[in-house]
Every structure is written in C-alpha cells, then in structure tokens.
Amino acid sequence: MRIKDHPILEFKRGEKITFSYNGKKITAYPGETIASALHAAGIRKLTHSQKHQRPRGFFCAIGNCSSCLMVVDGEPNVKTCVVEVEEGMVVQEQQGKGDLSAKV
C-alpha cells in the first residue's frame, strides 16, 4: 500500500508504469525501487535462503544486506532495494546463486 496523506511529506508520483514479477503484472511509479514497488503490491518475500530455502525479505533497504537479490531482465543478483523499477522490466525470484554467464 502507498501512503496518500502525510503531515510532512508530499509524494509526487508520476505516470503509472507496469513491470512483471514471476509473470504477474505489477503497477509501480517512476522513482520507486523494484523492492519498494513489490512491497506496495503486498509482496515482502523477495527470495529464500540457499541452504534451507527459508523465505527472505530485505532487512536494510539501502544495498547493504544482500537479502533482496533477484533476477532482473535476465541478470541475476540484482539488489532490488536500490535499483529503480522501469516500464516493462521482467523481475523473477532467483533460484540458487545465479548464472553470471547467462548475460554479459
């Protein structure tokens, strides 16, 4: 959910854009990060732990903790908490460590 009224802040959102997450269409606004747009859509589980497959969301939201890595337009290990969402982006939950040779 997005905040509409705030006593101090004003959120100027531009034109809606859409991107896909695991094949599902998600609405976002320019300037939002991928992870924040997913949160707005109610998606907080972003990945899972390597060994025990436990669900993981982000902890820090500023690019420190690496708990939000996803595959974005074919590129694995993207820190979705700091990368801005773009129209038509294809975002997928990452399986395993990600194949770096898949995209240069």
């Binding site: 959910m1 997005r2 905040i3 009224d5 705030h6 006593p7 101090i8 802040l9 959120f11 959102r13 300037g31 939002e32 990060t33 924040s36 949160h39 707005a40 907080r44 589980k45 972003l46 732990s49 436990r54 669900p55 993981r56 969301g57 982000f58 902890f59 820090c60 939201a61 500023i62 690019g63 420190n64 903790c65 908490c81 700091v82 801005e84």
Partner: protein, 374 residues
C-alpha cells in the same frame, strides 16, 4: 589513470560537508563518489527536526538539510560528483577502484576521506530472518522516501532515539505501533521523543526483550518477555503479540571495509559502534593518505558527521596546500563546535569512545591490519 587531490567516498552528511569545505579551503580536484543515484545519504528520510546545542542545523528537518547541501553543490560544478558509483576497493598503491554502470575505473587521489556511513545491527532470536523483520532505517526508507507502508501492526525494538523517532514517524504515516520494547531499564532516547510516543498511547516497555518471532512465509507474531536486572528472563511474563512487522532499532555499526583495505589500524570501540579506524584529532588514520569521518568513524548523528566531514576536509587540504591562517582558524573553529556538540551527559559515551580510539587505549584489538601496511 585519473589523478586528483581529494577523493571522498560517500555522499551523506559527512561526505557532502567534506566536499564543500575542501573546495572552500582551495582544493581544486575533488571527486565525490556516491553509490546511490541521489545525494544526502540517510538525511533523505529524516523527517524530524534536528536539535542539539549546536546552532548550525537545529530546528531543520533532515530532508531539508540534504536539499541545502545539494543546492550548495550545484553552485560548485567544479566538484566532480559521481552518483551511482560504488567504491569497490582501496589498493596497496593507494589507488581507489570504483565502478559505474558496470564499468570499472581507477583513481589515484593524494588524499581520501572515507565517509561511508553505517549499517544496522541485527538481533539474535529464533526466526529473525522472516520477511517483515526490518531494520528501522529500512522502514524509514520505505515510508519516508518511497511513501510505501511497511506493514500495518508494528513492534519496535529499541527505545533509543532511532526507535522512538521511527515509531512516531510510523504513526504519522497512519500505521499502528503496538509497543516499543527496550531491554535495558531506561529509555535511551531524548525525553521529547519518548513523550510524543507515549502521548500517542504507545507503551514503552523497558526490561523487555524479544524471545522469538512466529510465521510461515512472513512474520505473524512476536513473543516478548520481561527480563530482570541481570538480563535473565522473568518466568510467566511471556506474551505473544500479533503483528505483521518487527522493526529493529538496536544500533548501528560503522562501515569500515575500505579503511581495512587501506591498511588503517583498526580498534574495537563499543561506544563508537564496533570496529573503527584509529585516528588522530584531525581524523587522519594510520594511513596518512586516508581520513575518516561521520558514522563510518563512529556512530553519532548527522550534525557531528557534518562537522567531522569539514574537519577531515580542512586537514586533508592542509596536507596538500601550504598551511594558511584561514586553514588554521577553520580547524580550531570546527573543533570547538564538535566539542560543544559533545558536551554534557548526552555526549559522555562518545567522549569516552573517542578518548579510547585516539590514544588507542583500552580499545579492543585490531583484527584486521595486514602486514603489508605496518
């Protein structure tokens, strides 16, 4: 390879202040590296008004301080500001490697100021890895920077200034805060923040800790418990709280990766948040080409970070250009402002930490320094 007089890593309060002051002192080739696509660091989410004994930014909101700095930088186009740029490594020959848009570059600065900030501390408890358990800064990022609600029912852990301020900011965003719990017997934050939270009807439970979280795909509940003066659980006080978000405000730890790579002598100083570079009163580390400032030098707050950034910039400028009376005067003034800010009972633990790290007395051992620099 590109050379320059001064490289500053980090575009938060310390780095921004350093860049402007270095230019004012007469340095001409200044690079400011910032990993985000925006400047301001954590200021961009601080909606509360700053205060303290220091007059400089008292009464101004953090978000507005960031704007003031950005405006000033715009008037100084000669400062090279590289946004979306990650400082990747500091090498043995004092070369700073950085990447920008998937390309790697090398920079050889005569002096470097590390102003890389901090990261939030975690807390150990069962299921602490569930989605919906965030650092307080992450919650601020979501709601104050992107305008997105992190959850609907929050448990805040930690009653220091960050815990109290973020609890209040959650209320401002229309989000329910169930309680603020604090393991020690006293509220660490300022009384003005605590009373705002209390007035809103949120209980601040001292001597309480989190025993565990419950949930499958996301956090669904928190089990909290009272602890006694010896930090032992008090039996029969366990209670389960239905929440969808746990917010950890249990402190920060300096980000010192580059300082370690630069061979700076390190020391563990609990009062400053963890491992920090040993430095002199001008913030010069044991690597004479490297200065440290702001939270990456020791956890304090933004006003101190600004002053430290300025002090490091003046000192770095004095290394490169002949010492002048202006530099001398500036250095004395900034040090007086810092001393003023750290006066009184509030600054006591910082003063103790700084004494330890400056003289390297009673500080924890250096776990990092490699032989090639000693």
């Amino acid at each position: 390879m590109q050379k320059c007089e001064l490289a500053i890593v980090g575009g938060g309060p310390a780095g921004l202040a350093a860049a402007l002051k270095a230019r004012e002192m007469g340095l001409e080739e200044i690079y400011l590296l910032e990993r985000d696509n925006f400047l301001g660091g954590q200021l961009v989410k601080q909606t509360h008004q700053f205060f303290g004994s220091h007059k400089q930014f008292a009464g101004i909101r953090g978000i507005d301080i960031a704007e003031i700095f950005k405006d000033k930088l715009e008037d100084r186009p000669e400062i090279k500001v590289l946004k979306g740029t990650v400082a990747q490594g500091y090498y043995e020959d004092d070369v700073l490697g950085y990447s920008c848009r998937n390309k790697f570059f090398k920079l050889k600065p005569e002096r470097t100021i590390l102003a890389t900030g901090a990261s939030e501390k975690m807390l150990s408890f069962p299921n602490n890895d569930l989605p919906g358990i965030y650092g307080a800064g992450a919650v601020q990022t979501l709601m104050n920077q992107y305008g997105i609600i992190p959850g609907e029912k929050i448990l805040m852990i930690g009653a220091g200034n960050i815990g109290l301020i973020v609890a209040y900011q959650l209320l401002q965003a229309g989000i329910e805060v169930e309680a603020v719990i604090e393991a020690t017997g006293r509220i660490g934050g300022y009384a003005v923040h605590a009373s705002k939270v209390r007035r809103a009807g949120i209980p601040i439970l001292t001597h309480h800790t989190i025993k565990g979280a419950r949930g499958e795909e996301e956090v669904e509940a928190a089990i909290i418990q009272e602890i006694d003066e010896d930090w032992q659980p008090v039996s029969g006080t366990e209670q389960e709280m239905e929440i969808d978000t746990i917010c950890l405000a249990v402190g920060l730890t300096p980000k010192v990766d580059l300082a370690i790579q630069a061979g700076c002598q390190m020391a563990y100083v609990a009062e400053l948040g963890g491992d920090v570079p040993v430095r002199d009163e001008n913030l010069q580390t044991s690597n004479p080409r490297v200065y440290t400032a702001g939270d990456s030098a020791g956890i304090e707050e933004a006003t101190a970070a600004i002053l430290e950034g300025e002090l490091a910039a003046v000192a770095a400028a004095a290394d490169i250009i002949p010492e002048s009376s202006a530099i001398d005067r500036e250095r004395t003034e900034i040090k007086e402002k810092l001393a003023d800010l750290r006066r009184g009972p509030v600054g006591e633990h910082i003063r103790r930490g700084l004494t330890r790290v400056r003289r390297n007395q009673n500080a924890g051992r250096d776990r990092y320094t490699r032989s090639w620099k000693s």
